[in-house]
């Protein structure tokens, strides 16, 4: 198996090298057949990568522990379903997975590339082939997953316990796939620039491929947050960890790009800007690869840590130089067709939104790099973690949400005062009413109240637009559902965008709720004891052992009661006096109004070989709030030590996922030919004179 894998990698290396050289020479000396043959070589690299991946997966299936990577990342005890996870559980395998993804999406996008890009395709293929060449080279020489062990161990070390979670089937592949997918729009645009294809021919293909990569990356991040919430026992879902940040940064830039590419598509403006955004996103994705594989910052995600730092740093710098040299070279040709007409127009609002996204990105980058900078500048180590990023990025992110409510309401070119007033009345009213109601209800934390007001403002602005559009169609005879469906169908990029905006609002609700209103308490319970926090009583009723040879594991069963605080007046005031949020009850007699609402089974495991603990939190989730119980440890005296929290609105974080995916799909779905009105488009293009 190992030999086959190595051969496949070397073959892939040769093929991608041939492809890159062949396509460039063929294009330069005008040999069409060489270009065609090189293009076919690009398809064949996919086969090479697939064979190598197949060889590795097969080695896992057969428990071939003579291969170091297999011995390191699996054992005979491992659930066979996790073979797929083990495949990318470490540095070498994840690189192979990334390469496989790159090859597959390269082949698909070259195959389906529109005919009008024929002139720039050779260069696009060359760029894709060079990037593939890099990965084949790294895999073949620097980080081979097929390295053999001299003495074959009887059993492997096992998979990293943190990865044995259903979320791991999708989170890492989506995240890595999303990052590498940024290569595709980058290759299309760079190819067009090299070929001197300055028109907007690449806009559609770049937009579609960018949305796919962006959607995949966003979904991957959300799944990662969900995984952290349910398994890691950090008590959180997003820690502004360097590895999280390097995935977030390209996503932010891509988000900016997806907005401003619409301006180019519709108005022929922002060409330079769009190219620059794609370049930045691509370089940031390479930065992510670098920091992930042995970068200079500490992170909780050290799954792929390796000594490849220097190689990936060089590749990142090379892509930076290439992308921006190309950009500067072709910049004079990337003029806008039209001028900006007003500060109050959709173009202008998109540009401001772009700068806000970039600001968050640069600030995050600054936060990631500041410890390095401090080390170098004055030899003092500092940490930059969640409290910093919350403080510096929070306000800007809120600003972006405000723009999300205003921007889409503005027409292209210029807004009139009357229409603006007309459109902003209801959102503003609802935003203010929300703030007023929250204050009247005695809700604390002014920032959060303001943020809720902003969410209401944006939600109303979307609702208003849908309402008016639907009602107008309804009047012309459609029933309500059909009317709304026709509205969405009539302009999918726009309404898909709205659906994504709604998912962001849901995410916002969850972020505000959990960040500002979380209640926490810690305590250790013996069997029969209960812990009370707010209006929950958690009674420790049973426990059990689920150890296996590779781990010591226990679960605890807890009954969750909803209580009436009146029954517990004495204890509550006593706890308050002590400065505690919760308290422990020694006896298990129930009070009159206690009502059993749920049973949770948190689990705690310790993996001996990895010297690592892994937990499953016990979660009772409702739309309003999550009761979240982390078993920190099972103590020697039989008690279980718990971190209990109430996370308001956490449900909305995960509910946003399906909407995010749905919105992305709607925005991607091709427009039917009739609505595209090709005649008009062609007429519109002619005056540009750049084809």
């Amino acid at each position: 198996m190992a030999d086959m894998g190595v051969m496949a990698l070397l073959l892939g290396l040769a093929l991608s090298a041939y492809c890159a050289i062949g396509v460039i020479i063929g294009e330069k000396i005008g040999r069409a057949e060489l270009v065609v043959s090189a293009r076919r070589a690009l398809y064949m690299t996919t086969v090479a990568a697939a064979v190598a991946s197949g060889a590795l997966i097969n080695a896992f299936v057969q428990n071939d522990f003579s291969i170091a990577y297999v011995a390191d990342h699996s054992n005979t005890l491992m659930d066979r379903a996790f073979v797929w996870v083990a495949f990318y559980a470490g540095n070498e395998g994840s690189l192979l997975y990334i390469l496989l993804t790159l090859c597959v999406i390269s082949a698909i996008s070259v195959w389906f590339a529109p005919k009008r890009l024929a002139r720039s395709m050779p260069w696009t293929i060359a760029i894709l082939a060079i990037i593939q060449l890099f990965y084949f080279g790294v895999l073949a020489f620097a980080a081979s997953p097929f390295e053999l062990l001299e003495t074959v161990p009887g059993d492997g070390r096992g998979i990293n316990p943190l990865l044995t979670h259903p979320g791991m089937f999708s989170h890492p592949p989506l995240l890595m796939g999303g990052l590498i997918a940024i290569t595709i729009p980058f290759a299309f645009v760079s190819g067009a620039l090299i070929a001197g294809n300055y028109g907007d021919d690449w806009v559609d293909v770049a937009r579609v491929s960018a949305i796919i990569g962006w959607g995949v990356l966003g979904t991957g991040m959300l799944l990662g947050a969900w995984w952290a919430y349910t398994i890691l026992g950090w008590g959180g879902y997003w820690a502004w960890d360097p590895i999280e940040n390097v995935a977030l940064m390209p996503w932010l830039v891509m988000t900016a790009f997806l907005h401003s590419i619409m301006v180019q598509k519709r108005r022929g403006m922002f060409r330079m800007w769009n190219v620059a955004l794609l370049n930045i996103a691509f370089v940031l994705a390479q930065l992510g690869m670098f920091i992930n594989r042995g970068g200079p910052v500490v992170s909780v995600h050290s799954f792929a840590a390796s000594t490849l730092g220097a190689i990936f740093l060089s590749f990142m710098l090379a892509s930076l130089v290439f992308a921006f040299a190309l950009f500067l070279w072709r910049m004079p040709q990337l003029k806008s067709d039209r001028a900006m007409e007003s500060f109050v127009s959709r173009e202008a609002s998109f540009l401001i939104n772009n700068f806000l996204f970039l600001a968050v990105m640069v600030v995050t980058l600054w936060g990631v790099l500041f410890p390095l900078f401090s080390d170098l500048a004055r030899d003092v180590s500092v940490s930059v973690s969640a409290p910093y990023f919350d403080r510096v990025n929070g306000p800007v992110l809120l600003g972006i949400v405000v723009m999300m409510g205003v921007g889409p309401l503005l027409p292209w070119r210029k807004a009139s005062a009357r229409s603006m007033k007309q459109w902003l009345v209801w959102p503003t009213v609802f935003g203010l009413v929300t703030i007023g109601v929250l204050i009247a209800l005695g809700v604390q934390r002014p920032v959060a109240i303001f943020a809720f007001g902003v969410v209401a403002f944006v939600a109303t602005s979307i609702g208003e637009e849908w309402w008016r559009g639907t009602i107008a169609r309804h009047r012309s005879g459609d029933n309500w559902a059909l009317a709304w469906w026709r509205l969405v169908n009539g302009n999918r990029p726009r309404h898909g965008g709205y659906i994504v905006h709604i998912s962001i609002l849901m995410l916002g609700l969850g972020i505000i709720g959990t960040n500002f209103y979380q209640q926490r308490t810690d305590g250790a319970l013996a069997l029969g004891e209960s812990l009370v926090l707010d209006n929950y009583r958690i009674e420790y009723v049973d426990n059990g052992d689920s150890s296996r040879p590779d781990r010591i594991a226990q679960w605890a069963e807890m009954s969750v009661y909803e209580i009436d605080p009146k029954d517990y007046k004495q204890e509550i005031s006593f706890a308050k006096a002590q400065g505690s949020s919760g308290f422990i009850l020694k006896d298990n007699t129930l009070r009159p109004n206690d009502e059993l609402i749920d049973t949770i089974k948190p689990w705690h495991g310790f993996y001996i070989d990895f010297n690592m603990a892994s937990v499953r939190s016990g979660i009772r989730s409702t739309v309003v709030e999550d009761l979240y119980v982390i078993p920190r440890d099972f103590l020697a005296d039989g008690r279980v030590s718990l971190a209990v929290s109430i996370n308001p609105l956490a449900w909305w974080l995960w509910a946003s996922g399906p909407f995010f995916i749905l919105g992305t799909m709607v925005a991607l779905w091709p427009q039917p030919a009739v609505e595209k009105r090709p005649t008009r488009k062609r007429l519109k293009r002619e005056p540009e004179g750049d084809i």
Partner: protein, 202 residues
């Protein structure tokens, strides 16, 4: 040809609005420490102190023994009546600045906080300036009978005509609706609203 008045917004108004909004946000950021229980404060502090042996985790999130001990210590110190700042200082003295999850706002570390402010204000400033410049260049081109506006005007007439054709043919039954202005027909809508751009731009 009489459209509603276009909004005249100078960059100054926009900047003032932005400044006022950020001021309000800043005001809203002042949360009183006294409202919350000691336990909440200790959790909050736990989120501000890094666990010295774990990569990139705070003591609040970590299950390592040292994190457990540090959490207890934080609570003890708070029980003794120390302020949050005192507790932070206590740990900085023993573990160095690295123990803080966010750099202090003083001395060299001030850079960590100032630069983001510069980035954000600079970013917004550049955005507004470039919009202004893009507007100006458009006006100039127009003044000298530049191509772009002329082309646009021509296209607009064409758009009108084509939309009319579409409507007559019944291809798209809803082009006459105001809503959904981003549809392919929105250039028609926009032009209807803000006819004669020459007059409204000033």
């Amino acid at each position: 040809m009489i459209g509603p008045r276009a909004i005249h917004t100078s960059p100054k108004t926009v900047i003032i609005t932005v400044l006022m909004l950020s001021f309000l946000l800043g005001l809203a950021g002042c949360v009183r420490e006294s409202d919350i229980t000691l336990e909440q404060r200790s959790h909050q502090l736990g989120g501000e102190l890094m666990c010295p042996v774990c990569d990139g985790q705070t003591i609040d999130g970590s299950n390592a023994q040292i994190a457990v001990d540090m959490r207890l210590k934080v609570r003890d110190l708070l029980d003794e009546g120390l302020t949050n700042a005192d507790v932070r200082d206590y740990f900085v003295l023993r573990y160095g600045q690295e123990i803080l999850a966010a750099p202090e706002r003083s001395g060299f570390n001030m850079l960590a906080w100032i630069i983001p402010v510069l980035i954000v204000t600079g970013g917004i400033g550049i955005a507004l300036l470039s919009i202004k410049n893009m507007r100006k260049s458009g006006l100039k081109a127009q003044a000298s009978g530049g191509l772009s506006i002329a082309v646009e005007q021509e296209q607009e007439d064409l758009t009108h005509y084509l939309t009319q054709v579409d409507r007559d043919l019944g291809i798209s039954s809803f082009t006459n609706l105001r809503v959904d202005s981003d549809n392919e027909s929105d250039e028609l809508d926009d032009s209807r609203e803000t006819k004669t751009p020459e007059k409204t731009i000033s």
